[in-house]
């Protein structure tokens, strides 16, 4: 029995190393005083300094931030509505529309939106088209989280509110919304992370002239790799980590309510 466990632990350790070593290497080399990601020369902050003087990179960061905030706001609003509607009304088409973009290969969503924007709407691609595209695939994630929260709740609370004479709007505003708030916030943070990290869909719906963070990173990787990429990667990882910790805090607050059932 114990020999069995040791083998399992060893394999698990290998898998965890496989998951983490590459990321650790990226972080470590971001402090390396050498243009090559090969030999350790010495500790430096110079790649971060170059990064903060890179005008295009700063614009890209601003653009990405703007896209992520707009898309997560839109997706959270629409996704929460969809989650409520699906949970309450046993809808058939809306779940299909909301969940399919999450499940299918991203490239399909990217190229169909590219066609739609250029061919049907005849519009210039730019920040707006990216925001719409990101919203589409984030809606599904918010819907899933909000619906899961609703499913874990005791329906009699809403009934009680109604019996006490609350209008549907009052019930929503004073009972439903405060109860699903953790799920809504978790959904918003998740949408933000998904949007700021998305490469594939951004790649197809981006315009010319507006630098976007993942696209900048892609260009740097393809054209000239410098440890500047490591520096921006490290900063992005830090941002994601912080957001996940916050989201997780809201998520675990959801758990006590669920376990009471």
């Amino acid at each position: 029995m114990s020999r069995n466990n040791i083998a399992l632990w060893a394999m698990a350790g290998l898998v965890y190393s496989f998951l983490y070593i590459p990321l650790i290497i990226v972080v470590v080399y971001s402090f390396n005083d050498s243009k090559l990601n090969a030999e350790w020369v010495g500790f430096t902050f110079s790649w971060y300094r170059t990064l903060f003087h890179n005008e295009e990179m700063l614009t890209a960061a601003r653009n990405s931030l703007f896209i992520a905030i707009s898309a997560s706001f839109l997706a959270t609003t629409l996704g929460t509505m969809a989650g409520l509607a699906i949970h309450r009304c046993k809808l058939k088409v809306l779940p299909m529309l909301a969940f399919t973009p999450v499940a299918m290969p991203e490239i399909l969503l990217g190229v169909s939106l590219l066609l739609f924007f250029l061919q049907v709407l005849n519009m210039t691609l730019g920040l707006f088209s990216i925001i719409i595209a990101h919203t589409i695939f984030c809606i599904g994630f918010v819907t899933i989280i909000v619906r899961a929260r609703l499913q874990g709740m005791d329906e009699s609370i809403f009934e009680a509110a109604r019996d006490l004479g609350a209008t549907p709007w009052q019930t929503f505003h004073q009972i439903t919304l405060p109860l699903i708030k953790p799920a809504v916030i978790a959904g918003a943070l998740m949408s933000f992370t998904l949007s700021i990290d998305d490469f594939v869909i951004t790649f197809f719906t981006k315009g010319v002239g507006e630098p976007i963070l993942p696209i900048q990173i892609y260009t740097m990787i393809k054209v000239a790799v410098t440890p500047e990429v490591n520096a921006i990667s490290t900063l992005l990882m830090l941002l994601t980590l912080i957001l996940i910790i916050i989201a997780n805090k809201f998520d675990t607050r959801m758990l006590p309510g669920d376990s009471e059932k």
């Binding site: 632990w9 409520l84 009304c89 939106l113 595209a133 919203t135 393809k222 790799v225 990429v229």
Partner: protein, 311 residues
């Protein structure tokens, strides 16, 4: 009587709250209809059109200036796709890569998922969190990390070539190869296999294993006769979640692959951003969609009998 009351009041409740179904369901429905359903239909329609002279699309109706440009609808792109052996090869290569990636992910994920499922409850969330965490970092960064590890000057490259040298083999380049593509694919998709497997394995009743042990089954028999068959729905769910995105992936072969590593995703990308042959790109996307649906259906179908067996 008590039992009868319950569903009745629930349905009343549902009705009362559903009068505003269109109020809360309407906006997301419309948004998704316009920006998801409509573009998908447009893509389907585009696959039957002629490419324009300078990229994009040819007009649907005949040109006014009497030029002999092609117009209308056609099956040409589909004929073209099925007539050239090159495309069949790319589809086969993509399937092979997806299959091998899925298999490697399964072999790596299973022991870990099993260990997490059999750990004490208070450690489980942390262990799962540790699986999700790297997966939440930027997708390009995760691929880029392997550019460093597999690069010609990397420790790993030197090590591998030193060993190959001892046995008298010529040195190899790890980066820009199918091998690098496979590693990248596994790395990017591994959590998709671990999570459904864990969700399944966690639900297994340990009593069954104890009973088997009492009846004299050894470790391997217990695994192959009890744990493995029960876990098949998780295996198929994970397999679909890995296989499907790999089919459409273009970034991994683009960054880690060599000139020969062209998959369906790269082909589609080139039609839209390179040669600008939109109808052919749409045709490829439609075929990819059909393949994805087929695999999703297959995974659900395969998982079904064993679900029945359990219940």
């Amino acid at each position: 009587m008590e039992v009868n009351k319950l569903p009745d009041s629930t349905s009343n409740f549902t009705k009362a709250n559903c009068f505003n179904k269109w109020l809360i369901g309407g906006p997301p429905f419309l948004f998704l209809l316009i920006f998801f359903a409509a573009p998908s239909l447009i893509m389907f329609f585009t696959s039957f059109r002629f490419p324009g002279e300078f990229g994009g699309l040819a007009p649907i109706s005949p040109a006014m200036d009497g030029s002999s440009a092609e117009y209308g609808l056609t099956l040409e792109t589909y004929e073209f796709l099925f007539s050239d052996i090159l495309y069949a090869e790319i589809f086969l290569k993509t399937f092979a890569i997806a299959a091998v990636t899925t298999l490697i992910c399964l072999i790596m994920a299973y022991p870990l998922a099993l260990l997490i499922a059999r750990s004490q409850k208070r450690f489980r969330n942390l262990m799962i969190m540790l699986v999700i965490l790297p997966f939440a970092s930027n997708f390009l960064i995760r691929i880029y990390a392997w550019m460093i590890i597999l690069g010609p000057e990397s420790v790993l490259s030197h090590f591998v070539n030193a060993i190959l040298g001892v046995f008298g083999f010529a040195p190899v380049t790890l980066l820009f190869s199918t091998f690098a593509v496979l590693i990248g694919m596994v790395y990017v998709h591994l959590p998709f296999m671990i999570l459904p497997l864990y969700t399944n394995l966690e639900k297994h009743d340990p009593v069954l294993l104890d009973a088997a042990q009492d009846l004299g089954a050894n470790r391997w028999q217990r695994f192959w006769l009890i744990t493995w068959p029960q876990s098949l729905p998780g295996v198929f769910a994970g397999a679909a979640l890995v296989f499907i995105p790999v089919l459409g992936m273009f970034a991994v072969p683009d960054i880690l692959g060599g000139t020969g590593d062209i998959l369906i995703g790269n082909l589609i990308k080139d039609q839209f951003l390179g040669t600008r042959d939109w109808p052919f790109g749409s045709t490829l996307s439609i075929i990819l969609t059909l393949l994805v649906l087929l695999i999703a259906w297959l995974a659900t179908w395969l998982a079904r009998p064993s679900v029945r067996q359990n219940s």
